[in-house]
Symmetry: C2
Subunit: 199 residues, 2 copies
């Protein structure tokens, strides 16, 4: 005996999500069955809405309902700085910090030799065109992840942009807030020592 | 800056699922954004379909598209045995085993003093009526979980049904297949010793 067709199809859909295997998907599908009609209806609606109402900003690549996105349109922001991130949600993290007031650019990925993605696979050309068209941009802050691919991408960006006379900076590497030296990995410790600042 | 409204709503929906907190919900919502239109559309459709097309079988309480469910309608199955489970998905597990050919009854929960759910909160009355109406039922096999609430429910069922002259049995407790004695908890070991069988 198989699961009834509607449940089987919902299990398949849940399994398409990252980190959700057959067991979890089955649990979620049966849970869905017990949810209120309104909640399930809202769920279905919001799924469709993200695909229908959200687009990538034609300027910076951020996800947005309007094009250009609210950040690109906001002329009170510092137009001389562009912070480059891998993904849209990294922008949200930066904005939560509330200390950066410049512009952004989303690469939608990294240059990853191990995964076979090169410069042409990320949202890079639009950044170069943007830098050319907007001479007021004086600094590009590279905020890719502190992973191998993130580093590779950062190096590549610096190599590409510095010759144009634009300052390229990167985020500091070191101890995270509240970190315990004893529990910190060697690479982080090494970077923290390398990047030590005078008191 | 907040997430764009459609993303925020989808995050809320994902957070209604069990075991999914804000971080996971955010990750899933952004992942959804990158899924194909067809996959997201199917997901939304299957969510609605489980609520629209699935119902509880009026005989046994199993989830089903048709009422009565295929198992209750199948006259080739052994009509003299009813196996009682906590949830519909337990039926699927039993059916996968392929060794049980009787009928089922789903309680949709347990009697749980700790959670304040009593006999009136589970699908019990319909079982009693069923036993009364179908005198061909000679055995009730209680297959509630081997948890405290499952045990409580099993005891209550036995207490209620045995006086009617119907045999009430329960699943064996003991070592699971491939179990290592060394890694088996004391309660399981105790039950395995108690329930030892002659060779």
């Amino acid at each position: 005996m198989q699961y009834p067709e509607p449940i089987a199809r919902l299990i398949d859909s849940y399994m398409k999500l990252p980190g959700i295997g057959e067991k979890s998907a089955t649990r979620l599908a049966f849970y869905t069955l017990g949810m209120s009609d309104a909640d399930v209806d809202n769920f279905a609606k919001s799924l469709r809405a993200v695909k229908r109402d959200l687009h990538y900003c034609s300027v910076c690549g951020n996800i947005t309902e309007d094009d250009p996105c609210p950040i690109c349109k906001d002329k009170t922001r510092d137009q001389s700085r562009v912070l480059v991130v891998e993904r849209s949600r990294d922008i949200m993290a930066m904005e939560r910090m509330k200390e950066y007031h410049g512009l952004y650019h989303v690469l939608h990925g990294t240059i990853s030799p191990s995964e076979g993605t090169g410069p042409q696979d990320i949202n890079l050309e639009s950044l170069l065109k943007r830098l050319e068209a907007h001479k007021e941009i004086q600094e590009v802050i590279v905020a890719t992840n502190a992973s191998l691919d993130g580093e590779t991408t950062a190096q590549y960006l610096a190599h590409l942009i510095k010759p144009a006379g634009i300052k390229v900076t990167r985020l500091a590497h070191g101890l995270s807030a509240g970190a315990d030296i004893d529990y910190t990995d060697e690479v982080t410790l090494f970077r923290a020592v390398q990047g030590r600042t005078e008191m």
